[in-house]
């Protein structure tokens, strides 16, 4: 057994146990968090590139699990996000509260299923196995969304299914062309012919639906806004990243040969549009959760805007990994905090939040800190990400990309400071029912983690670039003379 297997299998075991656990849900969660935390630490200590074939079936038939830098960052982030969200959910879906029995019974298996799907998606390099994890994640995500609105969930399911068809079509093409669907093998074989390009386009189209990249984001805001807070946190934090990570694996590793600069720039352009569109929509929202959901649409844009920057000078790859992690953690924190704030407020609208900064300072602090990271202001993981990306864009002379990212940060400030300002307003302190400590602590801990990410930039960037695909620009260790020299060359 390797930690790579266990990271996928253990949540599935917990899923089965949670069906049987009854009143022991709390102990099961504690066990799950401890197990997954230990496995995550183990994963981080592995050498980048460590791989393992499941069940001893060798490639090209077997399924490869691999710990590269991206996975070594994302899987521990999933552990943190899912674990703390679980602590929060423990009170919302408490086994002892008989009010929502059907939901309680359904939530926990879905929760572990999603955890397993996310880990599998970040660790696997087998395109068909990735299809299965996509569908696992879809089932869990749609079912969780259905807890809020069946209509939104149904819409989500149908569009996700359509995305899967496109993805699978691409996989079929790849299989017929190369006889394998393993990304690591494809990396050495892929050629820039029509079939490969078509397959890449089909798969990317399907994945962009799942990643909710503008203009394929339509399903996201209703589904994420309607779901219960912990479900929203997982949907926005984990699920959209799955589609994104698979896209990255295709474009920069498996089918990098067919990934033309033009294609990368198209994706980057769409990402830029997503940032602007999502931000403007978020500014227009009156409901708090819809605002946070549209913010996800905007933040996904950054992930794709980075695509054309990966191969050039700078540290865009690290910035990209940072952004995925920081957004995951900060967005989960924000949804959880928003959930608590809305429980205390008179209604779902932003205007109903007046005075909450006094009534629930810790929760508003969590919201504020998460907002700082999402806006990309220092010190936070979101800042480090945006900083590296803007730096890379300017070093490559992509002034427009840099400008879009900076403007996106300003727009984020416009929509995120609005609920904060309302929370600070008024002179009365609304009476707020007391909340369980772990429910308050979970979003705060997540938000602090997003903040602290900003202080661990150096080591984490090193982790992210470990085992990065060959297409990523590998720079010599930066030293003063070196940078000055390249810079003066640039200028000429």
């Amino acid at each position: 057994m390797s930690p790579l297997d266990l990271l996928v299998v253990a949540p599935l075991v917990f899923m089965v146990l949670s069906l049987l656990a009854g009143g022991w849900q709390r102990s099961l969660l504690a066990l799950a968090i401890a197990t997954m935390a230990a496995l995550s630490v183990w994963l981080m200590t592995l050498d980048p590139g460590t791989a393992h074939v499941v069940g001893g079936w060798e490639l090209p038939l077997g399924v490869l699990l691999r710990a590269d830098g991206l996975a070594q960052m994302l899987v521990p982030a999933v552990t943190l996000t899912a674990g703390l969200t679980g602590l929060y959910a423990l009170h919302q879906f408490a086994p002892e509260s008989h009010a929502s029995n059907a939901q309680t019974a359904a939530f926990w298996p879905l929760y572990y299923l999603m955890w397993s799907a996310a880990n599998a998606a970040f660790l696997t390099t087998d395109l068909f196995n990735l299809y299965v994890t996509l569908e696992m994640a879809s089932i869990a995500a749609v079912a969780m969304a259905a807890m809020g609105s069946v209509r939104a969930a149904l819409r989500y399911l149908l569009i996700a299914l359509l995305g899967s068809i496109f993805y699978l079509l691409g996989v079929a093409l790849i299989l017929s062309r190369y006889g394998t669907v393993d990304v690591t093998l494809l990396a050495g074989m892929a050629e820039a012919d029509f079939a490969t390009a078509l397959a890449l386009a089909l798969m990317t189209g399907g994945l962009l639906v799942k990643a909710a990249l503008f203009p394929l984001h339509g399903w996201l805001p209703p589904a994420h806004a309607a779901a219960p807070a912990p479900a929203s946190a997982l949907l926005s934090g984990l699920v959209v990243k799955i589609g994104f990570v698979i896209t990255v694996r295709l474009w920069f590793e498996g089918l990098a040969a067919a990934a033309t600069p033009a294609g990368l720039h198209v994706l980057g352009g769409i990402g830029a549009l997503a940032i602007l569109f999502g931000s403007l929509q978020a500014i227009r929202q009156e409901s708090l959760k819809a605002l946070v959901a549209y913010s996800t649409v905007a933040q996904i844009g950054y992930l794709f805007l980075a695509f054309p920057l990966i191969a050039g000078a700078g540290h865009a790859w690290a910035g990209l990994s940072f952004h995925a992690v920081a957004h995951m953690i900060a967005k989960a924190a924000m949804f959880l905090a928003a959930g608590l704030m809305l429980k205390a407020a008179a209604g779902p609208r932003i205007a109903d939040l007046a005075g909450l900064a006094r009534a629930m300072p810790l929760t508003v602090t969590a919201f504020g800190l998460a907002a700082v990271s999402l806006m990309g202001l220092p010190p936070s993981g979101g800042f480090s990400a945006k900083f590296l990306l803007v730096d890379a864009a300017l070093r490559q002379g992509q002034a427009i990309h840099a400008a879009v990212m900076l403007i996106g940060g300003l727009l984020a400030a416009v929509y995120l400071f609005r609920p904060l300002a309302v929370a600070f307003s008024g002179s009365e302190t609304p009476a707020v029912p007391a909340k369980a400590p772990s429910m308050v602590a979970a979003p705060l801990a997540l938000a602090l983690a997003a903040l602290l990410l900003g202080f661990a930039g150096g080591p984490l960037a090193e982790l992210a670039t470990g085992g990065a695909p060959a297409t990523v620009a590998q720079e010599p260790p930066p030293s003063l003379e070196n940078t000055v020299k390249t810079a003066s060359e640039d200028a000429q």
Binding site: S138, I139, A146, V150, R151, L154, L158, L162, L168, A172
Partner: protein, 105 residues
């Protein structure tokens, strides 16, 4: 030569099915019909995948294994979608009844 033609036949039929399913998905409004349309497309993709394994003499089991897995996943999701559609219908029905009752009083 003949085997090649059958391979093409599988792929072409699959492509037609995918196209039909897509057309249905776009033109149909009802969730259940859209679900069926996606399934038609899915069947098309599986047909293409399955057709790949057909060699002149031997049959490659790898694509077949993928198809089987894919069908299992597709069935599960279709069942889930059908259940959701049912829930949606029930909710709509209940909302309609509520409206009617509200209209009478």
């Amino acid at each position: 030569m003949e085997a090649l033609a059958t391979g093409h036949l599988f792929a072409l039929t699959g492509a037609v099915l995918v196209g039909l399913g897509l057309f249905g998905f776009i033109t149909l409004r009802h969730a259940l019909r859209q679900l069926l349309a996606v399934n038609v497309s899915g069947a098309g993709v599986f047909l293409m995948l399955g057709g790949l394994g057909r060699g002149a003499a031997t049959t490659d089991p790898f694509p077949q294994a993928l198809v089987i897995t894919g069908i299992v996943v597709a069935v599960a999701l279709t069942a889930f979608g059908a259940a959701l559609t049912l829930r949606q219908a029930e909710e709509d029905h209940a909302a309609k009844e509520d409206d009617e009752r509200g209209g009478k009083t």
